[in-house]
Symmetry: D2
Subunit: 506 residues, 4 copies
């Protein structure tokens, strides 16, 4: 999260199973991660040692590099290689295994060859002729669209991409973790007309965004059959996945965007702001935003998702980190909560693993603490998602981290029951017999999980309570807080154009 | 947990990472387990589908059998094979992968070949001549010892082993999960002289117990160099691990024990109750029990481990399940809390994975609910261990399960700080800079994690409060409860004979 | 191959790829095998050392146990465990990895704990009540059949099974590697009526034979839908595979057969030799044998498979090892070439890997050399199969092993061309353009591959040449020989009852 | 081997073990390879089907991409991805699994979405500023050295690198498979002073060469401790391996070399041809070449390696492919046999797998046949290496390929015995007891393995016979030939500067 790509470090005891989820998630999401695991004393191997397991092998599928140093002397060397592997090329997770006997073994300090940290990742650029072709395809586009992925954020390409957007007046869409590379409230952001933009664009430039499930594989009916993709990516093997691209630009996304800017600069041009395409998009955005606003302004109680997020957005500090996980909570929240800064949104990402939210929030808080004191972390959790790692609230309170947790509570996964219905159901049978597996206990007081450890807790049921609790949480910089926000248990998102995919992904 | 070996079933969504810990733990502990995982639609494979991952392959290291049915038609066949593989031979975990497109696919019901459930696991017996040799080695033992492992519990060998113990007056030791096969309070149980018994026995009969780290690999100095092991086990490959046994008896442990009884019955014999060996063991037990009792009777506050467990043991229902995880909490608790019934203790076992306790408690409660209403589950958790899966309290409350959670709280892992010291430490620096990684927040109110979901919570600091809260929890059958028991943050266990292994393992 | 189960040892250099085929084949065929592989110096790991590869991990799927000793001191321990694991329980392959730096490292000899070789595998027996049930099912069978698998051979169950066959007059079938447990020319062997026997039996006792593809999975239409299987096997997990058995007898096959004998002995009984079932089987055998004999007696040239094998069988020494691999060569040869001794047939087995034949022949020769000098190894190879490892002829000549190689040469895989057709085809185009991939060069002089290394070679085209060359090869004990037997390139086997499976598997 | 990167295709039956060696070798050597494997019918999976094995999983460690299409419809899609993955980025091996039931399954042709072949691999360039730094480091070098690896050959960088060498008068060394990018007889090639060049260079530019065991890891004592490495590579993760480089240039090697040329062109400069460094190198080359020539001119019989290769080199056609494998044969042959064209040398490469030579020769012949009729393939094999796949001579003869095989025969691996010594040894004991495992049968007539299939064979013992047989083989374009060249069984290479590494690697 610094100019120099950071590596997140996890240390796990023997039996590193608990770290595997993080490793898988990091690797599938291309996040740099180094996990150090402990394993039993080497001389007990094959004897049934405590938590003996082939951990290096078990991590193979989840990592770019997985190894055990052959001796204490080799530790610095292997760590350097693991750190470097995690940040060079497309980032990912690495694993280093440390046997228990290393911990107390004495070696001559002179036998250790200390290794300097590796240099910043090498930068590469696209071939000049491919850049020319790309520029010419962009110029000739009738209905262009830029899609800004997390790869753009990792590459610190914010300035160059914003310049591209503004100079040529091109509509853009961020992916979930690409939000904030260009601010969400930028006039050229067409997030509010996402489906329309994808479906009718004739030229799409992908900046570090993969054509995976999140982007519906780049295929019809979500896209035009003859849409021209221009792929900008750091990973050669990504190019051509699922579609045959019109142009591929292999290289560092920031460097390549600068090449594009330079090439486009050669001849005066901009995409006409009064084009039919812009008009279509603006109309669609307007109607979508109106629909959201209407939902947000509903006065009925319990609240719906839109009302909640509308009030959260109102008070969201401009520079905060937004962390999020859940199903509807994450999906709808993403459309309403705005990011203004790159690398300030952390969510479950491509792999969609639940349970990562509080860990993300804690990591972001540790970074913020040193770098920009006062910065807040807003962690927006579905109630089911919170259940995966809610006990991390203890960690938050132990280190007194500047985190505000919002639990958007509908008593279930996708849908739950209100407590009256619940009681009615249990009159004749016990819960195990009648409650569908996706329902959770109604009216759980998650805020008490925070107060149990000395933080502030709020149980809110109305917009006013929500506003007030948010105001207080933001004002109180001495303690973390958790706001448990009760919503309509049967609340869903507004109807989508592709009803067969109501769960939109961006 | 029934006469017919049960298979525990876990169903996991796509991205089954959360189930891996359970699978690893089950497989290393030889528990029958079937995990059903979901994977993305097959026609999106290799395209970057939601949570696309080679799950069958990822489960290989953790299972006896891992497969995806090739079609819906094959589902019953593969499930039968997975269930059968998990319970036949040495039990273990199995994984079956179900792609998302199976869920809605329509097939002709006649194309499905329904498969009956498999028969009870086949029983095998030891070779007659090996049984003779074993009997003769036992007869000639000067300082015999039986070790009863969880394999004996799985084999339902309780009646035959208790008969062997009593008929021949042989001292026995249970392993952690072998506790209760013969009641812990049996006069021939030498658990209170464990180290002494292991160290000086000249003949040791292992009933379904592996010579792994828990039994110190069967090697000196914890054992006599020339101790004769008689291994009774269902798994041929286990025989001879780490030591060269005097006799191996391969087969179902109950069947083999009956063979042994029959053989020993042929000639009248019993091990002399007045032998020097029995005298030594009884003296050691007496002195160890006295030391524990002394610790337990200490009036100083905060309490120590022994005081806590002494009072818990006093009120423990005879037929309850005892579930436990933690470090000192699990290790010391095991020596004080008594089991009177087989298969009524569930702890972290051989693999020692933390985070399994609440899941075990819930599973035991679901079994108890139907089989013997009124039976209670006492779940004894270290505070750190509780942190791994404490949010499962919501599940406990949702289904209103008959579980009493005890959190033995020393503010840390192995050792923590009291809250005064903590405040002092934080005066000049923030927690992240000064708090050692093994310390947790002092005086965490874990009981509020229970009250947050409608259960009963108790925060106890004295023996009297502990007694009272236990009494109330046991009396109240309408709600689960959690007793948060504050102990001395620097409390440890009493000194061990092998100080280099103060963390005794049985 | 001795009374004590042997372990075959393979030593491979770094980059053990060449050993993987053997390991896979051994493991799938349940053969005990220990492979020792070399890996690079440990201090070069992760640096790009010579043939650096995660070999222990790469062997996981192919082995029962795969490990690298953590130090020289641990080598004896790990080797003992590998040997033991390969022969205890169901046998299989094991892998031990030795890093290059171990080879020259000096250690104090006293630090090495030498480990005695493990004891003979433990023997287990079936449950008495299951034996009773099995006996009663056998007695009540109307159309019984025994199938003798290689597990019976491994268990040295020949005497007890032969007694069972003869005492109760039961028809039996051997599987490919079960041939010779009871001699193939035994009057109760119904190999010549295999399909009929399988299809109409009402009770089938499997002695160490799996219901895999070789036995058509135990399913209709190859079997009666309600056939009762009695499975006798050493491996619990095998029981119930693909069918629901009537009785399972888990244990050492020899021990269990003795239990069965003892149980059946209790009441005088034998299966009536004049039953309709015996009559049906004998008629079918007679007509099948007549058909084979007719084919064998055909005078037309080139010869067909049956003619060749008829003449080979005529001269086959009673005590020779028969090794075989190929497609039709192995399948048809198996039906004609007779085994009279157990464990004297080695073929590609369950996994069907080609390229194993010469290695088997060499291993058998090394065993025979010391144990019974004068014993011959007859290795019957298809021409394509010989191509996989034909260069091993150098090894055969180097050690001057008592091996006679027969290459049954039809110029292709399944079918080839005669040389006139070949020349015609090449008149207008080159071979790469016109020759189907399954055709090999016509009239290859494989016998010259033998003479190149000083052995004797024969190129035979007529029955007389075949007879003469066999006679000479058997007479000459000073040199290995190879007889290259030209057959009709389009020769196939005789028509089968199940034409959809003309390639019968037993 | 064409301008468009080629993919080598291997098709393997079920039980793809035989293809694993090739896959491992290709992947470790970064060769593009696609292996198509067959697996059993899907509906027999988990039932014990013929050669049932988790092949996709087994290939994971050996490939960049390993998958089974989920349906016939998905086949074109998966093949496209496999081909693309094998050639995009750093090339490597890919595996696609085809179940047997696909072969006969009928699908509607319209349901198949045919996929076009992927575009040529995307090209990337180095960052401009890094190129500047690199140029400045090169200019300031006192003792510069270029190392040309196989990555330069794959990138078709021959023209640009030769220009760099000649324009700036820089000494260069090829790696084994980098030979021919600039001709071996180029005056600036310092291959004959390899150790000296590596040991004293102060700046080394690596063009697609890894600092692995072949280049002694880039570490002292084989290099100066403060040597500055400039790494030019297509793979980001390779940069920084084993050393901390002075400059890294990430990108397509041809594109980056052109960038370097352009940058260096900006200011007139060349490395002084009269420098002390050039003088040192030339002197060392002269003395090394004199030593080789002296060995080559030895008249004693049997011949030594140098004599053999001297005479081969004399007649080597300028445009031939040189294929080689073996130990001394490959290592010494590499120093004498010259390549003048890029991508015309194929040897065992980084992974050093034996058994690949004849496959390489056949593949090269198939390419040559269509592209440049008349071109010859010279395959230089050690006798042990030939033993791995010598039977492929049948394939060579079947397709009548323009291959000349040279077997350099010292009767063993590293060293063998002459036949007199051999006979003496066998007088009292048999070969298995006395012959060291690295010795092969003396005077094996490998040439008869060629004549067995109709090719030409030569057995040569003198320089004159060698010359004559080579002349005849080259003149006869109608048949493949094999020359079996007897050399001194105890022959080794000339003494090296680093006697502890007499087996030099380049």
């Amino acid at each position: 999260m610094s100019k120099r790509p950071g590596v997140c470090l996890v240390v796990s005891g023997p039996g590193l199973i608990h770290a595997l989820g993080g490793m898988a998630n990091a690797n599938m999401n291309c996040w740099p991660l180094l996990v150090i695991g402990g394993s039993p004393e080497r001389n007990q191997e094959t004897m049934g040692a405590f938590q003996e397991f082939p951990q290096v092998e078990a991590c193979r599928l989840y990592t770019k590099f997985s190894a055990r140093p052959s001796s204490i002397e080799a530790v610095p060397f292997v760590i350097e290689k693991a750190v470097r592997s995690s940040i060079y090329g497309r980032p990912g997770a690495c694993y280093v295994d440390i046997p228990a006997d290393f911990v107390n073994l004495q070696v001559n300090v002179n036998s250790i060859k200390y290794v300097e940290c590796c240099m910043s990742p090498p930068i590469s650029m696209a071939e000049t002729s491919a850049v020319c072709t790309a520029a010419s395809v962009i110029r000739s586009a009738k209905q262009p669209l830029l899609i800004i992925g997390k790869g753009a954020a990792y590459a610190h390409a914010e300035d160059s991409i914003q310049k591209l957007v503004e100079q040529y007046k091109l509509p853009f869409l961020p992916t979930p973790m690409g939000k904030g590379v260009v601010p969400d409230n930028h006039p050229y952001c067409v997030g509010a007309a996402r489906s329309r933009a994808l479906q009718f664009a004739d030229v799409i430039v992908l900046f570090g965004a993969r054509l995976n499930w999140i982007l519906h594989f780049g295929l019809p009916p979500r896209y035009q059959p003859d849409v021209k993709f221009i792929q900008v990516d750091i990973c050669a093997e990504e190019l051509g996945n699922n579609v045959k691209p019109a142009v591929t630009l292999l290289g560092d996304i920031n460097a390549v965007t600068k090449q594009l800017l330079e090439e486009l600069d050669k001849t005066p041009w901009q995409y006409p702001p009064e084009s039919k395409w812009w008009k279509t998009l603006r109309e669609k955005m307007k109607s979508n935003e109106a629909a959201s606003k209407e939902l947000a302004s509903k006065k009925s109680l319990p609240m719906n998702y839109y009302t909640v997020f509308y009030h959260v957005q109102e008070q969201l500090p401009r520079d905060c980190f937004v962390v999020s996980e859940g199903a509807n909570t994450m999906d709808i929240g993403r459309t309403v909560l705005q990011n203004y800064l790159p690398r300030h949104r952390l969510d479950a990402g491509t792999f969609g693993t639940m349970g990562v939210g509080l860990g993300f929030a804690i990591a972001a808080a540790m970074v913020a603490k040193d770098r920009s004191p006062g910065q807040r972390i807003i962690c927006v959790e579905g109630d089911s998602a919170f259940g995966f790692s809610g006990m991390e609230v203890e960690t938050i309170c132990r280190y007194n981290l500047p985190i505000i947790l919002l639990v958007v509570n509908n008593n279930g996964i996708y849908q739950g029951f209100d407590s009256d219905t619940w009681k009615e159901m249990l009159k004749f049978q016990d819960a195990a017999s009648v409650v569908p597996p996706m329902c959770l206990l109604p009216n759980s007081h998650y805020e008490q999980v925070m107060t149990a450890f000395g933080g502030k807790g709020y149980f809110v049921q109305t917009p006013e309570e929500l506003q007030r609790s948010l105001r207080q949480s933001l004002a109180d910089t001495t303690k973390p807080s958790l706001i448990n926000i009760m919503i309509e248990p049967q609340a869903t998102r507004k109807t989508q154009d592709f009803h067969w995919l109501t769960r939109s992904n961006m």
